[in-house]
Subunit: 522 residues, 2 copies
C-alpha cells in the first residue's frame, strides 16, 4: 500500500549549506554553513549553525544516535540554497490541460466555454490519469510540496487524484467538487452537475472514505469539503456540507468574490444573505481551515466576518489578471489579520508555478499601487510652480485634484516585496491550510518539505562564446535557467533575482516529509 | 573582419514544416506542409505550400538553380513551428545584471539607486564584455533576432556591444547614451554624465564611425541616436542630436511619459514646450524610426503629434508594472495609427524575454480593462432587480453609479489577444524600427529572421511516472519546458499555450539573415 511504502527504506537525512525561510511577513532569515537533521519520519530534529558534514558527524550524530551509514547527506553547492517547499492553496487539477487557454473571457463565460467541458471529460478515468499524472509531476517540479486541489464531480477520478498524490509523495488536500445548481439555465442530460444536494453529500462521503482507506491519519493526503462556489450550489447542498464540516472537522475550500458579475449573481441568488461571505457563514462553512479563493471584492463587513471566523484567502494573481477579474487588495486582507496564501488557480491562472504566482502577486500589488488619477492630459500650463527635485516620483492628479498624502501612503503601502510574496508562498499558505506548525519553515519539530534552489553562474570565460553560434551551455552539464548570478550579488539580491526570473530549472531537488519526490537530471 | 566572416560558408537553406506569422494585428496565418527557401544572403526567395523535401528538390531546386549538395535542410518535427524572430524595441544591455532588482522603487529613485551606478561601472571594458556577452547570448536564446539597445555613455563599451552583436549575428541598433544634465543636484566628479552637449555629440559621432567601420552598410548593426530622456538632457544636447539626425538620417530612441513624476519634471524643466512630446519635436527628434519607450501618459495632443510624425512606441509592460509606472493604453495608441512594438526594458523590466513581455502585455491590457468602479462594498441591499443570467460578467459601479455601455465597450476593447501581442512582438516592432519590409514575417523578399519553436508532448506512457520520484524526463533527450501539449489542441491553442507558458526552452533554433545564431543542445 502506498502509505506504508512511502517511508520504506527512508534513512535519516543531513542537509548542509545555506537555508533561507521567512522569519516574518517582511523578513527572510538566512542560515549559512548550517546543518539540518531530518529523521526517518521526515521531521526536522536539529538545526545547527557553523556546521559542516565532518562536524555534524562528530557532534550531532552521537547526540541523535545516528550512525553515518544510516544517513543520506545532501550538500548544497556554492550559491545553492534550501528553501521551504511552496504551498499552492488553490489549483484545479482537471483544468491543467487548459493552462493558457482563456481568450478574452471573464469568469462566468470562461466556466461555460473552457472549464466545464474539460472537467466533464474526466469521467474518463484513463484521461483523468493522464492529466492528473502530468499535473502532479509538474507541480512537484515547480517546488509545490503542498497542493490544495479542486478535482471534479467524479468520485472515481477524484479518488485517483488522491492515489497519485500519495504515490508521488505530494502533500495534498483533494476535493471532490460539489455543484448541484446550473449557471446556464435548466440542467439537461449533458449538464456537468450533481443530481441533487443529497448526491453531492454522498459523493463527498465516498471520497472521504477512500482517502481514509489509503492514508488513514491524513498524514499526507486529506479530503477537503469543496462546494464549487455559491452560485453553483443550492442552499441545501451548502447546508449539508456545513453539517459534514461540523461532523468531520475537515477543511473547506470554495471561491468568493472573484468577479463583479459573480458578486451580482450571488446577491440575486441569495437575497436572504447579508453578503457573499454570509452565504457561506449561514451554512456553517466559514472557519479555520476554510480556504477562500480570490476575495477580490470583499466589503468591510465581509472582511470582518472572514477575519473573525479565522478563514484564510488564496490569492490568485495570475488568474485575476488573466480573466480580468480585478486586483485583490492583499495588504488590506493582511492588515485585517486574515491569513493569505498564494494559489496558481490553474487554469484561470495560466501557470502551475507558485513562483510565477509570487512574481505576479508582486506585480499586481503594484497595479493596486498605481496612481488612479492621471497627469493632466491636455496642454501643459506654463508658470505652475513645480519642484525640480529629481526624487519626486509622483505628480498631481487629473483636473488639478491633489492626491492626499494619506491616499498616497496607502497606495505605496499596497506594494508587496519579494520577502512578502515568498512568505505568502510558504508560511502564509501553511496558515491558510492549518499547518503553520508543521510546514513552511525550517524549525525543529516541523516537517522537511523543502526545495534545493540553484541559480546560473556567469563565468569569466563566457566572454568568448558570443563569437558565432551560441550552443546552449555546451560546457555545462545542466541547464540552470535564466537567473544569472555574476558573483557580486548579496543573498537578498539572489533571492530577488530568483523570484523575478526563476523557473522549475532552478528547483533542483524537492522533498516532502523528508522524502525526495523530485530531482532534475544532473 | 566580422562582417565578411558573417556569411562565410553560408549555404542556401531549405526549411520544411509549419510556419506561423502575423497576417495582421489580430490574425495569425498558418502555413502547414510548406517549404521556405532562403538564399546565401539570408533572403527568403520562395514560399511553397504543399511541399516536402523531395518535392522541393524536384521542383524548387531546378527553378532556383540550387543543387542538393549546396543546401542545408531543416525540417520541423511534428508539432514544431517556425515563427518570426522577436524584436525587442527597448532594452538596456548594461542593466542586464540588475534584472529583478528594483525593490519598491519607482522611476526616478530607481535610476539613482540601481541604474546609474551599474551603468557607470561599464567604464571597465572587461566588465562590459562579460555583461554584454551574456546579454546578447541570452536574448538570442529567447529568440530576439533584433534588439534596440541602450548602451552607456562610454564609447569604448558601446563599440564593444556593437562588435559583440555583429560577432554573434544579432541584428541590433546600438545607442551610446547621451545625458548631460543631472537628475539629482549639481554634478560632481563621480557623476555618470557627459561633460557637455558638445561631448555628447562627439561621443555619438565616435560610435557611429566605429559601427560604420565594422558594418559599413549597417546591414546587421546600426547606430541609433540616444538621448536618454528629456530630464537628463540639456536643450543644447537635444538640439545637437536633432541636427545629427537631419545630417545622418539615423534612427532615434528615447523615453517618454513613463511615470507621473517624470512628466511633472519635464513640465518643470521645459516650460517653453507644449508638452513632453513637444520637447523632442522642437529638437527635431520625432520622426519615422524614432522609438519612444513607454508612452504611458501621453495626452491627446501628444498622441496626435507622435502619430503625425510617424514615430513608434516601445511598449514595456514588465517594466511599467515592476516600477509601478502605470498601464500604457496600447489600444489607444494603435487606434491612433501609432506603430507599437514590445520592449523588455531590462532592467526596469525584470526579464530579457520578449515572450514574457508579450505575456505581460496581454495581462496588463486586462488591468486596463478592469472595472474601475467596484461593487458596492457595504451591506448588499435587498430587493434590487438583478438578472440571474449566468453570462452577465460585469456588475454595477460603486455607489449605484451605472457604467455606461460605451465605457464598458471601451474597457473590453482594451484587451490584447494572443494574436495581437505576437504581432507587437514581431511585425509591430519591425514597423517601429523601420524594417517592416525586411523582417517580422515570412514573405518572399524578406530576411530569414526566425525561430523554430518546439513544445512538450504529454505521452500516454507518462501515466506510470507519478509513482515515486519523478526524475525530470529521464526518458527524453531534451527539456522542452512547461508547455504541455496533450494532442487535442488546435494550432491556435498551441500558440496560446506557448505565449502563456513558453520560455527559452521552446526556442530550439534561431536564425538572423539566414545565419544560425543559436541552437539548444539536443
Amino acid at each position: 500500500m502506498a502509505s506504508s511504502k512511502q517511508q520504506k527504506g527512508e534513512k535519516n537525512k543531513l542537509f548542509i549549506g545555506t537555508f533561507i525561510h521567512s522569519k516574518q511577513l517582511d523578513e527572510l532569515e538566512f542560515f549559512h554553513d548550517t546543518a539540518v537533521c531530518v529523521d526517518k519520519s521526515g521531521k526536522i530534529i536539529a538545526v545547527e549553525s557553523s556546521c559542516d558534514q565532518k562536524r555534524a558527524e562528530e557532534t550531532l550524530y552521537p547526540k541523535l544516535g545516528w550512525s553515518a551509514a544510516d544517513v543520506d547527506v545532501t550538500v548544497g553547492r556554492d550559491g545553492e540554497f534550501f528553501f521551504p517547499g511552496f504551498i499552492d492553496t488553490h489549483i484545479h487539477a482537471p483544468q491543467y490541460p487548459n493552462a493558457g487557454l482563456f481568450g478574452k473571457s471573464t469568469l462566468l463565460d470562461w466556466l461555460n466555454t473552457y472549464t466545464f467541458p474539460m472537467e466533464a471529460s474526466l469521467s474518463d478515468l484513463a484521461r483523468a490519469r493522464r492529466i492528473y499524472s502530468r499535473c502532479v509531476r509538474r507541480t512537484l517540479a515547480h517546488g509545490t510540496t503542498t497542493a490544495v486541489y479542486f478535482a471534479t464531480i467524479h468520485v472515481a477520478a477524484t479518488n485517483l487524484l488522491a492515489d497519485l498524490c500519495l504515490g508521488a509523495g505530494q502533500r495534498a488536500f483533494v476535493g471532490r467538487v460539489c455543484m448541484d445548481h446550473s449557471l446556464s439555465g435548466p440542467p439537461d442530460a449533458n449538464s456537468y452537475l450533481d443530481e441533487s444536494a443529497a448526491a453531492s453529500e454522498a459523493a463527498t462521503r465516498a471520497t472521504i472514505a477512500h482517502v481514509r482507506a489509503i492514508d488513514p491519519s491524513f498524514a499526507l493526503v486529506s479530503p477537503i469539503l469543496t462546494p464549487r462556489f455559491a452560485p453553483a450550489c443550492s442552499r441545501e447542498a451548502l447546508r449539508r456540507l456545513g453539517a459534514l464540516r461540523a461532523e468531520t472537522g475537515l477543511p473547506v475550500q470554495t471561491h468568493i468574490s472573484e468577479n463583479v458579475g459573480e458578486v451580482a449573481l450571488v446577491r440575486a441568488c441569495f437575497p436572504e444573505a447579508a453578503h457573499y461571505a454570509d452565504v457561506y457563514d449561514r451554512a456553517g462553512l466559514l472557519g479555520a481551515r476554510t480556504v477562500l479563493a480570490h476575495a477580490v471584492y470583499l466589503s468591510p463587513a465581509e472582511l470582518d466576518l472572514v477575519a473573525s471566523r479565522g478563514a484564510g484567502v488564496a490569492h490568485c494573481p495570475c488568474s485575476n489578471s488573466a480573466l480580468t477579474s480585478g486586483e485583490a487588495p492583499v495588504r488590506v486582507l493582511l492588515d485585517r489579520g486574515i491569513s493569505v496564501g498564494l494559489g496558481t488557480d490553474v487554469s484561470g491562472g495560466y501557470s502551475a508555478s507558485v513562483l510565477e504566482a509570487a512574481r505576479l502577486a508582486a506585480l499586481v500589488s503594484r497595479h493596486v499601487a498605481m496612481p488612479r488619477s492621471r497627469p493632466r492630459r491636455g496642454r501643459i500650463q506654463q508658470g505652475e510652480e513645480k519642484g525640480e527635485d529629481g526624487n519626486e516620483d509622483e505628480g498631481e492628479g487629473e483636473g488639478g485634484e491633489e492626491e492626499s498624502e494619506e491616499d498616497r501612503e496607502r497606495r505605496e503601502k499596497a506594494k508587496l516585496s519579494v520577502e512578502e510574496v515568498l512568505y505568502l508562498a510558504t508560511r502564509g499558505g501553511a496558515k491558510v491550510v492549518g499547518l503553520a506548525d508543521q510546514i513552511g519553515a525550517f524549525r525543529v519539530g516541523m516537517d522537511w518539505d523543502a526545495q534545493l534552489v540553484g541559480l546560473s553562474t556567469v563565468g569569466e570565460e563566457d566572454v568568448e562564446e558570443t563569437q558565432g553560434i551560441t550552443k546552449e551551455r555546451e560546457e555545462e552539464e545542466e541547464d540552470r535557467g535564466n537567473v544569472d548570478i555574476f558573483g557580486w550579488e548579496s543573498w537578498e539580491e539572489r533571492v530577488a533575482k530568483w523570484v523575478y526570473n526563476g523557473d522549475d530549472r532552478n528547483t533542483r531537488m524537492v522533498w516532502v516529509k523528508g522524502r525526495l519526490v523530485h530531482q532534475r537530471r544532473k
